[in-house]
Assembly symmetry: C2
């Protein structure tokens, strides 16, 4: 693309505050951009900034023709209206796919969202590249966040899985999960899914990234998943580790969404 | 509202072609409006009309301040782009709730759609008024249409049911359905759900309206549901009949959405 059009894709990040996790994620995303030859810009705002400051940062990136994707690093501080801010991201730069129009088009048959949310897109990519059949299979999604659980269940349905969504109000999550051919754990509860929750041969995608204290690690903590890997790996036919599983694929999908957006912008096919 | 503001709610219908079912539904909706004191207007277009003609009809109703809800009677003839037309209905008059923003806001946590699609809204209303607990219960939705199956599954999730969606790619729909406390049948397949598909005591909502030939009936056909009523009624603890079950409640919800929209327009609480 650079050779043909003289342009490279551009990704803008907006980060509010100095949350340790957010910093780590942003660093990874910026590093990945550099490695892939994608230009990146970042706007960092103080923890106590106003909504207008965030919307102004958004406006700048909306008007910047060298930016093809904008990402607001979540979670935002409590005093900011996350819904209002995400709704303000222009559709054609919404590489996170969190705008309600994108989500509605993902949910509805015969519609095409401009962008698929990165983590669910990455999970489907992992399944397909690993030769896991999705169509007609029973899938259980544990958790129903707007960022992962919800779009994951919608995307699995698009691929013709029979999807059940398990959440905090589920009395027997273990029993329901044990029927699944494909399990996506995205509840944010460390080691929630034990070996006994799985049907032998199930395929397990662990989206959990839960920090637990560990003084022996560089930042004083390490990440563990929603799945008890040691137990689950003995029952599952395939399983993603944490860290190093779904996480890097999510970042790769963000780059892919940005590239696709740039191609659209430059009419480059 | 009429006494306080001097205004009544107004509903506009756009009907393309002369499909027998569509005519029946439209007649019922117009009759219900009259009964409830809601003003109604109808724009009928020929089967072979252009997309622009439909969009023009929409524009007129968008500009008409006496109209608070606009409904495009579905299905539209094949040559018209249903997605494009439904996307053109202004959000604040989208009483059918079929716009992707409405659907996205229905799907996402912490968001509120302006309107809930009428059939799913009616089904929830039936459950609540009948004292059926939804939270924590297993619900199976059979079918995944944009009009019923999809919003139904999203709305049941909002009420904290554990939802599974069964569709044409499901190898064992009977087995999955048999685990459900609440079954919503919206597949458009006459008598699909037999008594053996149901857990004893399950609550069954039959959204199917399938015409079958019957020369003894006024129009030469009668409507039957997706559920084999005779068998199912012996197993279920509660079941809606077809006709006369979900259908009239759907029409009532359309009137309610129109009323809510008018209240919003006139700032009347």
């Amino acid at each position: 693309m650079k050779n043909s059009t003289g342009n490279v894709p551009g990704l803008a990040l907006i980060m509010v505050g100095q949350g340790r996790d957010s910093q780590t994620y942003v660093r990874k995303k910026l590093g990945a951009c550099e490695e892939a030859g994608i230009q990146s810009k970042i706007s960092t705002l103080p923890e106590n900034c106003t909504e207008d400051q965030v919307l102004n940062a958004l406006s700048c990136f909306h008007e910047d023709p060298s930016i093809h994707g904008i990402l607001v690093q979540l979670p935002l501080p409590q005093h900011l209206d996350e819904g209002k801010i995400l709704n303000s991201v222009h559709l054609e730069k919404d590489v996170d796919g969190f705008h309600p129009i994108n989500m509605g088009n993902l949910a509805m048959w015969g519609r095409e969202p401009l962008f698929l949310p990165c983590t669910p897109k990455g999970c489907i990519e992992l399944l397909i590249r690993s030769g896991v059949e999705i169509s007609g299979k029973k899938a259980v999604v544990i958790g129903r966040s707007n960022i992962v659980g919800l779009p994951m269940s919608l995307l699995l349905q698009r691929h013709h899985a029979i999807v059940s969504v398990v959440h905090a109000f589920t009395r027997n999550p273990e029993q329901i999960t044990r029927e699944a051919d494909i399990v996506v754990a995205a509840a944010g509860v460390p080691n929630l899914v034990r070996g006994s929750w799985l049907k032998p041969g199930a395929v397990v995608l662990d989206v959990g990234t839960n920090p637990v204290k560990d003084p022996s690690c560089e930042y004083g903590h390490r990440l563990i998943g929603d799945v008890c890997y040691e137990e689950a790996s003995r029952v599952a036919s395939a399983i993603t580790p944490v860290p190093g599983g779904v996480g890097p694929v999510t970042v790769a999908m963000l780059l892919l969404n940005t590239l696709e957006s740039a191609k659209r912008a430059y009419n480059f096919t």
